[in-house]
């Protein structure tokens, strides 16, 4: 592996270094110093300006400017306001928020208190999925320690600021990560999204102005305060500042969490940090943005990664899942995988998403079964567009993206499935045929004995043959043949 330091840890600065269950370790690493400096300055707008000028944008997917969001919440007057940390992390394959919560819980508490001071809130809530028991345990320990140390609670540092934090447990639905659904879920209602406006900053939890930020967004805050906005804004691209944590997965050697400056290229991520494609296979695509995102192909390998470039390329930053695919991955199946997820997770409130995504899934399924037509491909495109334009919340508005982006970048692969009834990656079971090469087959009968459905016939010592109509494509014969006579076409 190259040791050329392409990574920069800001959000992950303490993960893997400090003991997350010991507040003293956090304090020794300048913990709560940012809160102290904010309270000492005693000028909420000045701190909001620092966050605004830093250029920090939301890491939960949308990329909304964080400072601006704080400003809106601060300007909406109310007797009570709330700070909410979105720790629902529902994207398949994403676990950066979990790592931060498990490795550095105090950084989130500190940032939430800073946020509370800036917008005039004395209460913070962390909405965390119940499937994260260790993160929950460490957060509870951290809250208790911070309260005992007087860093949360009443009259922090004797400067008159009060701030409490409580946990709220998510029930495990992906859509509950959407901020309006999250707020309804915390209020005890069904976790269904509602139309925006009003935005949470205007009317959120219990109808009060509420600032919702993602875990990783919060993790950056203390650093921006301590190092200054100029430092933070010097990292990244023109419109995307700082770093992003990605969960690098798929056909890559070094699977894991990475934190890279915005503007790094996919090529650097895959080949220099990730160690290259597994088994020296050929790169095919990278999926970013999870079920709301799309695939980036070879032509985007040298595009600087930031919010806007990813959208222009037909994908999105999302929360930070990054799945690398090689030539053995079928792009129709990839789209089908995400649609399957969306259909499961749609809350069902609006029909474009509830019914439309199901239809998209059915068409994709038909194509992978070898029954698709060219009209189906038109349907896919049209229906995708309608769903995007008419769905109520971000889930439905982005759910066709995996379909549209694979159609755009891998049109030929779709056509191949539909017209030639073949899957070039060899992934679609129904489109595979197992063929015995008569020149290599010596008639040992090993395959015929292994076949569970008796689809292989042939005389001893004579080339065997597979009856395609009976074959269930289980692959048992391939493994048994010592002469490599059976291949998949």
């Amino acid at each position: 592996m190259e040791n050329n330091k392409k990574q920069l840890r800001i959000a992950l600065r303490n993960c893997g270094f400090i003991n997350p269950e010991n507040i003293e370790d956090y304090i020794a690493h300048s913990g709560y110093a940012a809160l102290a400096s904010v309270l000492e300055t005693n000028d909420p707008q000045a701190t909001i300006d620092v966050i605004k000028k830093s250029g920090l944008r939301g890491r939960g997917g949308g990329g909304f400017p964080t400072g601006l969001k704080w400003e809106i919440a601060s300007k909406n007057h109310a007797d009570q306001k709330y700070v909410v940390c979105n720790a629902d992390e529902g994207d398949p394959g994403a676990f950066m928020d979990r790592s931060i919560l498990e490795g550095d819980p105090h950084s989130i508490l500190e940032a939430m208190a800073i946020n509370g001071f800036c917008i005039g809130a004395s209460k913070g809530l962390i909405y965390i999925r119940a499937e994260y028991p260790l993160a929950i345990e460490r957060l509870l320990i951290a809250i208790k320690q911070a309260e005992e140390a007087g860093l949360l609670g009443r009259n922090i540092f004797g400067l008159g600021f009060n701030f409490d934090i409580e946990l709220r447990y998510g029930a495990g639905a992906f859509v509950c990560g959407e901020e309006t659904a999250l707020i309804h879920s915390m209020e005890g209602d069904r976790g269904e999204p509602t139309f925006k406006p009003p935005f949470p900053a205007q009317s959120g939890y219990l109808g009060k102005p509420t600032n919702v930020n993602n875990v990783e967004t919060f993790a950056n805050i203390p650093v921006i305060i301590l190092k200054g906005w100029e430092w933070f804004a010097s990292i990244g691209t023109e419109k995307s500042k700082g770093t992003k944590v990605f969960a690098l997965a798929g056909k890559i050697d070094n699977v894991g969490l990475i934190e890279v400056p915005m503007g790094i290229t996919l090529r650097e991520v895959i080949y220099e940090i990730g160690g290259g494609i597994k088994d020296d296979r050929k790169f095919k695509a990278v999926q970013t943005g999870g079920p709301s995102g799309g695939c980036l192909t070879e032509k985007f390998l040298d595009t600087p990664i930031d919010y806007d470039n990813l959208i222009d390329a037909g994908s999105m930053m999302g929360s930070g899942g990054m799945i690398v695919m090689d030539e053995d991955d079928c792009m129709v199946s990839v789209a089908k995988f995400y649609l399957d997820f969306t259909v499961e997770e749609s809350c069902g409130k609006c029909s474009p998403c509830r019914i439309g995504n199901k239809r998209l899934y059915e068409i994709l399924d038909k194509i992978t079964e070898g029954k698709g037509t060219m009209e189906d491909l038109d349907h896919l495109k049209n229906l995708s567009k309608v769903i995007k334009d008419t769905a109520l919340c971000g889930l439905g508005q982005t759910s066709p993206n995996p379909v549209l982006s694979t159609i755009e970048n891998f049109w030929g692969e779709y056509v191949y499935h539909v017209v030639d009834k073949k899957c070039p990656a060899g992934q679609c079971k129904a489109l595979k045929s197992y063929i015995i090469n008569p020149d290599l087959c010596i008639g040992c009968t090993a395959c015929a004995r292994a076949c569970p459905v008796g689809a292989i016939k042939g005389e001893k010592k004579m080339p065997h043959e597979i009856n395609q109509a009976n074959c269930i494509k289980c692959g048992a014969c391939v493994e048994k043949c010592k002469f490599n006579a059976i291949s998949i076409k």
Binding site: L8, C15, G103, F157, K227, E259
Partner: protein
């Protein structure tokens, strides 16, 4: 921990903690103390980090090696869990990957007790913001 009542309190506390950390790093109190961190996030624990931590403590005790073993969060090398960082007095920290419970004993015997490197060392491939 006693209550931190003012900004001055926090500053004092930080300075105290930092200097005691430094003392330990320089091995002032016990110049042979080896510091071991075991990555104990969900991913590490799932691949056996809890056992690894116990084995390291027990094996070190058996051999009378002075160690301070602490838990930490995810070191982010998912492909090489469990991961363990070892800092010998006066030396740079070394991160070992693939320290399964089977290999933990070997780590103590060869690297902690002796000075023999084991395979699976992970190079540090990032910079970290210093606060």
């Amino acid at each position: 921990m006693e209550k931190i009542k003012s900004l001055a309190d926090l500053k004092k506390k930080r300075e105290e903690l930092q200097s005691s950390l430094q003392l330990r790093e320089q091995g002032e109190n016990n110049e042979n103390l080896i510091r071991v961190k075991v990555a104990m996030a969900t991913c590490g624990i799932a691949s056996g980090a809890k056992q690894v931590m116990e084995i390291i403590m027990n094996e070190a005790k058996k051999r009378n090696i002075p160690v301070e073993v602490t838990q930490t969060g995810c070191m982010s090398y998912c492909y090489a869990e469990p991961t363990v960082e070892v800092t010998k007095p006066g030396q740079e920290p070394v991160v070992f990957g693939y320290v399964t419970p089977l290999k933990a004993e070997e780590l103590v015997e060869k690297y902690l007790a002796g000075n023999e490197m084991l395979p699976g060392v992970i190079p540090i491939n990032y910079e970290k913001v210093e606060l």
